[in-house]
Symmetry: C2
Subunit: 347 residues, 2 copies
């Protein structure tokens, strides 16, 4: 990962402050977004206050469990890069956290998840019915909040995104357990499942700030590539991450039968024995811990992790390249740092 990060800095199409490593980038990012994060947290809390205590409770649980607030933050920074200087951005930004939280709740039901970010999954505490319905509430509430901003262009992008996301979730379900899925199909799922919402957050930040069409398009593109890179790194962390840092058991997606790019590459590029063994392990009804450790080694040796990290890096560079539509600006540097952080992060 350290090496991948170094490549990112050297090949970034847009020059920006040189840094010494992931901790320095992280520190630089967080020192600049502290007050934005506080505004985001306050707005989430305000919007979660309902007369129905169970909704507030489950909402706080899913949204309070260590999320990065990446989507609201990107919307706020995108608006700022397009010249917005007011305070109404926080109210719109949390729309993306609400949509994201709704998908996490429904994903946990769909995946029969037991753990999310080192805590029991919401469905194990409140049961599937409550979690399905509270997911529906958070999603409806998100759209209602967005409608309050009186701009049809924002609603067009948002609802187009959520519809594509829902299609992506169905595609992923259909393809789970499918060892024959290829890179193109996998990238379509990743785009719909992750990139579309991140891209919409960036694009909507631009629309909210009444940015020029070319700036709005640049932000859309930045978010699209950032989102793909983010998910690709997530999928490598499922093989390489450490339970403590990642907040979910290593191999979680694998246990659920999700076929991601590291495995797809290994099945394509591994030698006959490795491929046969991987098919055997992933074709089984249950994947035991020692089988997972063996599979992980086979995937790493067949180059599955390297390939996926390299592809993530390419997308990070395309994300950064898109920002060349903007003149130099501290907020542009921050968005470049965030792009680098995506490939650097270990959790």
């Amino acid at each position: 990962m350290e090496q991948a990060g170094t490549i990112a800095f050297n090949s970034g199409a847009v020059p920006h402050p040189v840094t010494s490593g992931p901790d320095a980038i992280k520190e630089r990012i967080f020192s600049q977004i502290r007050s934005d994060l506080e505004r985001i947290e306050a707005e989430i809390e305000r919007q979660l206050t309902t007369r129905i205590p169970m909704i507030s409770l489950v909402g706080r649980y899913i949204m309070g469990s260590g999320g990065k607030r990446l989507r609201p933050l990107l919307m706020i920074l995108a608006a700022r890069l397009c010249g917005y200087r007011g305070k109404r951005d926080a109210a719109l930004s949390v729309v993306f956290e609400f949509v994201h939280a709704a998908t996490l709740l429904h994903d946990d039901v769909v995946d029969h998840a037991e753990v999310r970010r080192s805590k029991p999954a919401a469905n194990t505490i409140w049961g599937n019915p409550a979690v399905v319905l509270i997911g529906d509430f958070l999603y409806s509430k998100a759209i209602l909040m967005a409608v309050g901003h009186d701009k049809l262009s924002i609603l067009e992008v948002l609802t187009d995104a959520t519809t594509k996301m829902a299609e992506g979730e169905v595609l992923q379900l259909i393809n789970s357990d499918n060892l024959e899925i290829d890179e193109r199909e996998y990238l379509e799922v990743v785009t719909r499942k992750t990139a579309v919402l991140i891209s919409a957050a960036c694009q909507i930040g631009g629309l909210f700030a009444s940015g020029s069409p070319s700036h709005v398009e640049a932000l859309r593109e930045y978010g699209h590539h950032l989102g793909i890179a983010f998910q690709l790194i997530d999928d490598t962390l499922d093989y390489t991450g450490d339970l403590k840092e990642l907040g979910k058991p290593v191999g979680n997606d694998i246990q659920e039968g999700k076929v991601t790019l590291p495995l797809i590459v290994a099945l394509q590029n591994g030698d006959a024995a490795a491929t046969a063994r991987l098919r055997e392990i992933f074709g089984a009804d249950e994947i035991l811990r020692e089988d997972f450790l063996e599979a992980r080694d086979l995937v790493i040796r067949a180059g599955g992790i390297d390939y996926t990290q390299r592809l993530a890096l390419e997308h990070v560079n395309e994300a950064k390249e898109a920002l060349s539509a903007f003149a130099p600006h501290p907020t542009r540097d921050l968005l470049l740092d965030i792009a680098d952080y995506v490939v650097f992060r270990r959790a």
Copy 2:
């Protein structure tokens, strides 16, 4: 029911064609809406065509299973009453059928339903994960379709409605099994769960046709009372309906522990022995067929069905009264007939 219907005709605040009975009303309604229903069906089919066959398949299954298209039809008629004469109404009308279908899919997951309208519930065929995600898709798609109509007022009413509906579903879940729920709490659930969407369909019909604020408000009120009456009658049919006519097993909601008004009234008004026996039956983990038949007799004898039918009738009359804001018009007569049909129907 026959008697309730007779009362409806005599006490309707707005004069409209006298009829001889439910079959005559039904025939009169259907003869006038045939071409609207055809346009609605064609639009549903068009919007269900996606690249993901499973979505089309499940969508057609849930939307093709004998629904009345009440919500799209009300939107179209409301727009017509406000003077709309074009063809774009069908595209907006199906938004309400998509939202309704999404809630049916999620309800089936929440209730662990096995049967809906005499057919296996979708979750028994495709499983809970697919049904949750395809529900999400239909809901997102509905909002996306509504955004296409370029009117923020429509989106405000629609998303306010869906948010209230989601809250209502959570409230209902919290109150299931709760024999202490009172009439006021029950009516709040009914309003949110059913009346809010029917009311939104009527109101949005008016907004779509650029009706006057007082006409739009009259339509909202019509839909609100019609929706409450519709759900009240649904709840009586759970006790009095016949499996064949109703399309779901009699006592279905009861098996699921749903406490509806007929039971609430019986628990309040029944003698001590009846109340104790009802508490015993509904407090049990499983309700056997003979217990249900006994409970049904106790509820009927304690006046639970009569009271609920009378309340439905009051709401139907309030719905009809709201339409006095409009001058006499064949579409107004049709909406009056639909209100009467709601209390007349046996399925």
